[in-house]
Symmetry: C2
Amino acid sequence: MTLGAAEQFDVVIIGAGPAGLMAAVWMAQTGVKTLVIEEKLGRTLTGHADGLGSRAFEILNSFGLGESIWMESNRTIDVCLWSSSRGGLQRNSVSPNNNPGWSRFQEATLCQGRIESYLLNFVKRHENVTIEWATVPTSLEISKDKTETPGFYPIGLRTKSSSMQADEQPERTVQAKYLIGCDGAHSWVRKQLGLALEGDRTPDEHWGVIDCIPITNFPDIRKRCIIKSDGGNLMIIPREKKLVRFYIQISPTVAESFKANYCPSALMTVLKNILRPYTFDTSSTEWSTIYTVGQKLCNTFSVRDRIFLAGDAVHTHSPKAGQGMNLSSVLKGIATPEVLCTYQAERFPVAKRLVAFDRRMCSSVCSTTEEEDPNSSSDRFFDLKSTLSEENTCASGLGVVYGPGLLVTPSDNQNSVPCVDGTNLCCPHSKPYLARNIVVGGRLPSQSVLCQSDSHPWHLQDRLVSTGQWHLIIFGGNITDFTQMTRVKRLTDSLSHPQSLVNRIVLTDGSPVGSVATYMVHSAPREEVEFMDLPPILRPFDDVTGYDYSRVFADNKVSEEGCGCAYQNYGIAPEGCMVLVRPDQHVAFIGALEDTHALFKFIAKSFVVR
Amino acid sequence: MTLGAAEQFDVVIIGAGPAGLMAAVWMAQTGVKTLVIEEKLGRTLTGHADGLGSRAFEILNSFGLGESIWMESNRTIDVCLWSSSRGGLQRNSVSPNNNPGWSRFQEATLCQGRIESYLLNFVKRHENVTIEWATVPTSLEISKDKTETPGFYPIGLRTKSSSMQADEQPERTVQAKYLIGCDGAHSWVRKQLGLALEGDRTPDEHWGVIDCIPITNFPDIRKRCIIKSDGGNLMIIPREKKLVRFYIQISPTVAESFKANYCPSALMTVLKNILRPYTFDTSSTEWSTIYTVGQKLCNTFSVRDRIFLAGDAVHTHSPKAGQGMNLSSVLKGIATPEVLCTYQAERFPVAKRLVAFDRRMCSSVCSTTEEEDPNSSSDRFFDLKSTLSEENTCASGLGVVYGPGLLVTPSDNQNSVPCVDGTNLCCPHSKPYLARNIVVGGRLPSQSVLCQSDSHPWHLQDRLVSTGQWHLIIFGGNITDFTQMTRVKRLTDSLSHPQSLVNRIVLTDGSPVGSVATYMVHSAPREEVEFMDLPPILRPFDDVTGYDYSRVFADNKVSEEGCGCAYQNYGIAPEGCMVLVRPDQHVAFIGALEDTHALFKFIAKSFVVR
């Protein structure tokens, strides 16, 4: 056994499932030197997670991946609730599986393997990320005295091949500045840190999962269904192509039988029984497994702001990813290392809520109900319906709101006393009443706007590409009005000034990570606005590519595109406002066009400035 | 020189530009054994054609290619007209570059090389099509006595490598049933057939073309512009990335200068002069050329219905393709060989109108106008504006209507006398008044509808995938109404009957080419319709894949998707109708739900039936 020289990486990610690959996508995009190691020989081929929420699509789309995955996936638009009735099954209700208007994307399903494939292809286009398959970690050391110093490599990790004999292979040591453990529910990293998932395992709730092509006369087979039958409880989730996923509640006996021979026939028998009197068969089963329900959560998401746990390593849910960004900013020396504590502060409450929600969801699916008179007015699905409604609102990724912290300003309310000079100088507070439907700490909802230069309709969110850049959106109002344009010019003059804090952020050689890009959405008729008359910061010039024509948008109506309602839907008055959006599309700050001091103060707190 | 054994192909395509590749895409999709030869070493890299009309996108999308090309291309949404005024330039008008509501796609631009790349990747996924680069034809023979017999190979073609020395390479002979000449304006095939492009070449109109990244303060550089300046005439067409294409009218002297040294600097000087007083420069020129305007047309599109000419070989215009389909049907013995004469009958008038339109377009761009008082009410752009409006309507691919023929029924009008039994038995006529906004012979406009089985919103056009299959759409009305459902059932019973002509079409081993697929768009509330109660022809069953859930749609409203207006927008009354759509999405027949005899008569005329 030879010990190779230690190779150095900014970040090592352990695990190449959805959470690990999503983190790798962020690292790839922001140019961080990264190693990903994964025990398996390659990506997932069948089964496992298969759901994508609206917010997951929005995040994937900010890397240019959303549209393709959306086109390939299967949208689950309706939810049907069924129950036993007079020896048969009856449909109790059909309701929408999304909350209209929250996002242009909705819940959809696609095999985890395909999602991983899109993420892998993205990562492979970037040379700064290396993926090593069939590799497992063997030991982890963290040098305690160096964790405070940004430039050091305090983490030592030994790895070996998982496919070779132990005595014939070289063991390897790598050094890293940061480590992200995305190695699943049985996380090796979590165990090395002496941490545990906490929570109860309900011993009697076993579930079987089957992915197959159904041959059935059950009429709602292409809709999401929850069936509470005398034969047991069942969830139906239609998938891409003609696949359908079935979650089947099973007895401990069936679970044992499955474990004994790994054959889905016992599950299939239960499934057929639940669906009776409808016929059910399958021409091919793609994947099946069993699991025992348990909502668990690790109370610690990060250790010394050097090692982070993500995905199933800290909780259990589907690939609704989207973290990792702050790490790039810190690595590039742009953000202060303190911002890394926001990972625990922001994501722990989200995971906690999600796990609690999962618990309610499971209990409302599994609760046994007596067969009732179908004419009775009482609703045995009452609990389930309210849980489902919650799923599409506060439990959805769209509803995640981070509390005030280093990267989210606290909110002023309209009646609070301003500072003496009226500028919010004393502390960077947001004024949420200036954009009533944009939530500080929440993700910026998308609205359609028209590009000033070519009238192209865009979802504003599609222009906020995930590059590690922050986005300052100036809602300038009707800028053909002299007063309004004067306010905008005063703001852009402040931003453009060489001493402006926006221009004093310390950046890395040509990388956009941590810089602030300025945009404008105005409400003037776009044909009355001349591009060349706009402040130069809104049309950056480059010797090679000319002017940047993609920063100014008009909130104007146009046929068939749903444009012209951005101010109204954002709840922004004609006086406008400015909104600072983080690289992960969450809103950090809302202020008046005059609130440059508050903006700069916020930047001074979280960025390394000259 | 050795002569290899003659290899046999169903179809040989000469030329792998957009026209040849589009034909190859059709052949690939329909499983026809095809050879494509192309003189060049590979696909186009820069320059050449770059415009795609709405109809081109619709056709590409019927092969699953439209969305990706649409996302990558640049939409030209506005047209600006500029002219000289008091020594400077003034913007005379800004108007939309499309006709709202005609198509969800609009005119857009993308480098021909990228479009070819999409088509090539599609073709490469099919083993039945072989592409040979660097290969030229050397002789063509057509055996006159065999052209009438469908199964024979009457065409003999010799080819050689264009990159090897003549004396060191083997010459090769291939035999083909059909040959398509897509070899450009100087078509070798056309010359072999003794045919010529006819039309005048206007000797004084020279144009230069430059693709470059402009560095300019001209404000409309990202819009389509037509500029009539004292310095000359100019068209600006913004492209993908930050490229812009410029068409510059030049003098014979400048044309000579360009020819002498193939350098765009002379063109650039003219361009700068036209755009004065705006500054103009470029950081990189991707491509440039010059050409002399000439609208030309070959009067013969096909010879003995065995050799066909397409694209620039018969006229001059951008890649608005979409033919080739009938060839597959005839090759597979489904359609009668007579339908091939529809190529000349249908496409020649289209080309003739297009060439005439090009002539008007050029003359209205080039007409010299005196500088006018800007306050004058007379409009020097009058001609140009009406030509531009024509471009978005009747001259657009969307407006192409094929006249009655073997593959399009003539139209009855409401007052015509029906046959004695009221069934249109005597001749297959359409009843256009049953769907007032669907034009017989025109392409079926797209409307959004909801899939009955999973409520997924779809553009109806997206479900009419180009596979060579015909589509019979039953607009059944409110099928929860007993009378209406009875009418639908009577129709589907006729269609399903073993002796139905739809079931007697002679098909090739498992290929969909030439078969008729039945769909329904009803207007009943979808939650009141049970999938399993529908006629079996609308839910075909397969042992391996189960029911086909993609044939029945509801015209119901749903949030944010523009659904629920299909009947209204198609102009279909509650009684409904049936619409037979060809594999190229053009409408062949419109009848009442009772008009099965007319439908069958149409099929009997154009298909080979048992």
